[in-house]
Amino acid sequence: MSAAHDVDVTVNGRAYRRRVEPRLLLHDFLRHELGLTGTHAGCEHGVCGACTITLDGDSVRACLTFAVQADGARIETVEGLGTPEALSPLQEAFREFHALQCGFCTPGMLMTCVDLIRKYPLASDAEIREGLSGNLCRCTGYEHIVRAVRAAVARQRETTP
């Protein structure tokens, strides 16, 4: 075990400093050091996508990232999107189209969608499905997630000409 390191991160706009072991995984850091338990660990080997967050604007698997690698980074997690009282438009679309059942994969699914919507036109369902294909959901069969993303993209287009 090697010496602890200081990690400075900004998560959802708030600055944090913690001293951690270099082997601490980023999802454990978020959940246990910062108490942000919205980010879930589903496989801890980078396949399922449940732990997806954005790190300096790109979607990243928190289970394949050490906390020390995030030093100095800006992180967004599901807790930064909306609140139970005021859902974000993407969260609202997920609710409207029943794009979640158990809700375990949902935080990672949402953060992947945040990244996809920022970067890609998502003009077709095929493109949406391709974008979602790195996130596993065992409950929904994906169709309702595709519809939610389609609606969120269309609404964003209406509001931002």
């Binding site: 879930h40 409207e96 158990c102 949406i128 294909s133 596993l136 065992r138 069969g141």
Partner: protein, 810 residues
């Protein structure tokens, strides 16, 4: 999407739309969408100890010695335990009244020997999960191999190496169902088709791995287990027995649970262990599985070999069916369902929705040195439906009948219900023939066949497959959910009460893990009681909520929970009306409850639920003493037999001969689940279950090598369908006739996984018919497809298809 009224005419008449039948947005969603859900591992508990397990890397071996000294000496390690440290704890046995059944003894840690790779042998408790896992590497175990028990057919023979010596056999259960003289009927059948079928083992792979947290409050002598379980009531009852504690001294809470699909519907050694250790040490103890542990130790499913033959007359009418099933049930008979659950259902449901005059189905449940099997979405019926629907299509091919036509000739007709199947199951009226007709119409079957003919002329491998099935849901007390099981799963209890502020709280024994029961049960209560959904809080997933509860499994919760909710709401409403009749000085017949208020019909005189509650509980003197009834009702609902849910699936697919990729172009499901509480949720259940059926048919396979090592031990190796593998799914809802259940609900959580593999298998066989390939084994992975096609291209394969036998030894 608006909350559309179930009955537009009622809305036109000015009546408030009922919430049953409406696409109500889920109550659960805001917390789950914002990271405010509370899954077991999300609970932050100071001072908790973390458990890590050293698991067997041998399939079947004696434990010669265990040296934990180095592990125990590691800083941060609090305790290291082996079976010897738990000797005072009785092993768990899943008992059954079934004849010829052998229970197995399972302790929290392997005792004397190990029986599968992944079985927990040593538990390390440490201040963090990281430290606990560090210590695992310092544990030394000396094993003496006893030889794996891999092939269930070999394991069933006399003289085979025994996994459980005390049973005297590896055949843990055997059963036979028979009707008529099957030998004579088969001998006279002019058309006979048959084969050896194989469904490879699956794992439920819920996205949340299993997770348990036990806390012991010494002052109150209360043990609380927070568990990612589908069955908090069953776990509570077992812990009470095992630890010899009073029932109110153990509380099992299933908070938000991240999917189950049957994998969290059994008792696990790890949850017993954390409960025992928390009580012993007086500190919170937690364990959260990683995915490797999930894939090697969570109950697996569907591992059967089926030899089956169907005899028909020259018109394609079924005369006889016989089958021999060997279920590979893994190393232990799982609590509480037993090893008989899955394989016996294959045989009891094999005749399906068809008239089968003569039947004989035999099954043996054989233990092997693999992870224990248990319930997985569909239980038995994905396999029975795969086999029966393949036989039906094989017969259609032999007779030159269209697959739709042969089904029409054999499905139980509307005028034949109730129909007793050859295995003794009684189908109440359900849309057997109607779902077939509906799917053909929705998919434009004739048009699809014409398009297929054109595609075939171009040399393309396009297939169309049908599958019709029936399942028994909402099973009541007359039938055990598993054969001979001594636990009652056939009743559901609810307590609904109006508190002194007028708020409605309803407690159930069900345990939602994605089904949205907090929404659908509130819909039922809101309609029956006359209040708004937001006025109702549903308590579920907590063994302390009701006197008796089991959980959520076996497509029971909407039927039993909805039925109990209906009965208790009606009771409570009658009490409310009686109290209100005093306050409003009107007869109860003149009163109506809606939106949380009680009105004198046709007037503006009304009292709110809150006002009634105050008059009953607080404002003494407003009601005569005798008129102050407690605003609470507890009711138990028992559907006694249960009710049939049925559907027909249609699949259109194309095989790319170069890559062996199977592209699903269309999936259409026509289903009858009775009265629909929330169509949005029903659609979601169908989509999700069909996606698991797609996985079962094309991708998912738990692979053990001959030495009993698990080869599919990551989600890169065990392939769960992603968005790119699941097409849009069209759903047609039918209501043939409402069942006799209270509320008219049928269970519908599993059906998609039952129908889809069979429809896909039939579509594959149809696409491959130019090669004469018999599809008898699922999943048809690209590799398996490549081998089938390569074998068919060799000259020897221009003969009629031989039944492949390679799987027997593979």
């Amino acid at each position: 999407m608006s909350d559309a009224p179930a009955d537009p005419d009622a809305l036109a008449r000015g009546a408030r739309p009922r919430s049953i039948g409406a696409r109500i947005r889920r109550v659960e969603d805001p917390r789950l969408l914002t990271g405010h859900g509370s899954f077991t591992d999300d609970r932050i508990v100071p001072d908790a100890l973390h458990v890590a397990f050293r698991r067997s890397d041998h399939a079947h071996a004696l434990i010669r010695s265990v040296d934990v000294a180095a592990a125990a000496a590691l800083p941060g390690v609090v305790a290291v335990l082996t079976a010897a440290d738990l000797a005072d704890l009785a092993p768990v046995r899943a008992t059954s009244r079934m004849r010829d059944y052998h229970a197995t003894a399972q302790a929290p840690l392997a005792t004397g020997k190990v029986r599968y790779v992944g079985e927990p042998v040593v538990a390390v408790l440490a201040e963090s999960r990281y430290l606990a896992e560090d210590a695992l590497e310092l544990v030394e175990i000396a094993f003496e191999g006893l030889g794996p028990v891999s092939d269930p057919e070999a394991a069933a023979r006399e003289g085979a190496t025994l996994l459980h010596e005390e049973a005297g056999t590896n055949v843990l259960a055997r059963r036979e169902f028979a009707r008529g003289d099957v030998e004579a009927a088969m001998a006279q059948a002019p058309v006979r088709v048959g084969g050896r079928f194989r469904m490879h083992r699956k794992t439920p792979a819920a996205m949340e791995n299993r997770s348990y947290l036990a806390e012991y409050d010494r002052g109150r002598r209360l043990l609380t287990l927070t568990s990612s379980t589908q069955i908090p009531g069953i776990v509570r009852d077992l812990l009470v027995e095992l630890l010899d504690l009073p029932g109110h001294g153990v509380r099992v809470v299933a908070p938000d649970v991240g999917g189950g699909f049957g994998g969290k519907a059994s008792l696990y050694q790890e949850e017993v262990l954390v409960a025992v250790l928390a009580r012993r040490l007086g500190r919170p103890v937690r364990w959260t599985s990683d995915r490797l542990e999930d894939l090697i130790s969570t109950s697996q499913g569907f591992d059967e070999r089926v030899e089956a033959e169907l005899g028909l007359d020259a018109d394609g009418r079924i005369l006889a069916l016989r089958a021999d099933v060997v279920g590979d049930v893994g190393a232990y008979s799982i609590y509480p369902w037993t090893a008989a659950l899955e394989p016996v259902q294959v045989v009891s449901f094999l005749p399906g929705p068809y008239r089968v005059p003569a039947y004989r189905g035999r099954v043996r449940a054989v233990c092997t040195s693999k992870a224990p099997t248990g319930p997985y979405r569909g239980v038995g019926r994905p396999v029975s439906t795969f086999v029966m629907e393949r036989l039906i299509d094989m017969a259609a091919g032999r007779l030159g009948l269209d697959p739709a036509e042969i089904r029409r000739r054999n499905l139980v007709r509307p005028d034949e219900f109730p129909y007793r199947t050859a295995s003794g199951i009684v189908w109440d009226r359900s849309a057997f023939t109607e779902s077939l007709a509906a799917v053909l119409e929705a998919a434009d079957y004739a048009g699809l066949r014409a398009a297929q003919a054109r595609a075939r002329a171009e040399g393309r491998l396009v297939g169309i497959g049908l599958a019709t099935y029936a399942e028994l849901t909402g099973i009541g007390s007359r039938i055990s959910a598993a054969p001979g099981m001594p636990i009652n799963t056939g009743t559901e209890q609810t307590t609904i009460r109006l508190d002194s502020t007028g708020a409605v709280t309803a407690a159930f024994g069900v345990a939602s893990h994605g089904q949205g029961l907090e929404t659908t049960l509130a819909q039922v209560i809101a309609d029956e009681l006359g209040c708004r959904i937001e006025d109702v809080q549903i308590l579920q997933g907590d063994s302390a909520a009701v006197a008796h509860g089991t959980g959520t499994y076996a497509s029971r919760s909407a039927v039993l929970g909805g039925g109990a909710a209906t009965l208790a709401s009606r009771d409570l409403k009658a009490k409310l009306l009686r109290a209100a009749s005093h306050l409003l000085e009107a007869g109860t017949d003149d009163l109506e409850a809606r939106d949380g208020a009680i009105r004198v019909a046709g007037t503006d005189r009304a009292v709110t639920f809150r006002q009634v509650a105050r008059a009953v509980y607080s404002e003494m003197g407003r009601l005569p003493k005798d008129a102050r009834e407690e605003l609470e009702s507890t009711r138990v609902y028992d559907p006694f037999f249960g009710t049939a849910t049925s559907a027909t699936h249609l699949c259109l697919l194309e095989i790319d001969p170069a890559t062996c990729r199977v592209r699903l172009d269309r999936l259409v499901v026509a289903e009858d689940c009775g009265r629909i509480i929330n169509p949005m949720i029903v659609d979601g259940q169908v989509h999700g279950a069909v996606a698991q059926g797609i996985g079962a048919a094309l991708y998912e396979e738990v692979v053990y090598d001959a030495g009993g090592q698990l080869l599919s031990a990551s989600l890169a190796d065990y392939v769960v369908p992603a968005a790119s593998e699941v097409p849009p799914i069209d759903i047609v809802h039918l209501e043939a006739e409402l069942p006799a259940t209270v509320g008219g609900f049928r269970g519908m959580g599993e059906g998609g996984t039952i129908g889809a593999p069979a429809a896909i298998a039939n579509a594959l066989a149809d696409a491959l018919s130019p090669f004469g390939i018999a599809v008898t084994e699922l999943p048809v992975t690209p590799e398996r497809l490549f081998r089938l096609m390569a074998a068919a291209r060799t000259p020897a394969a221009s003969n009629p298809p031989k039944e492949p036998s390679s799987w027997i030894s593979s």
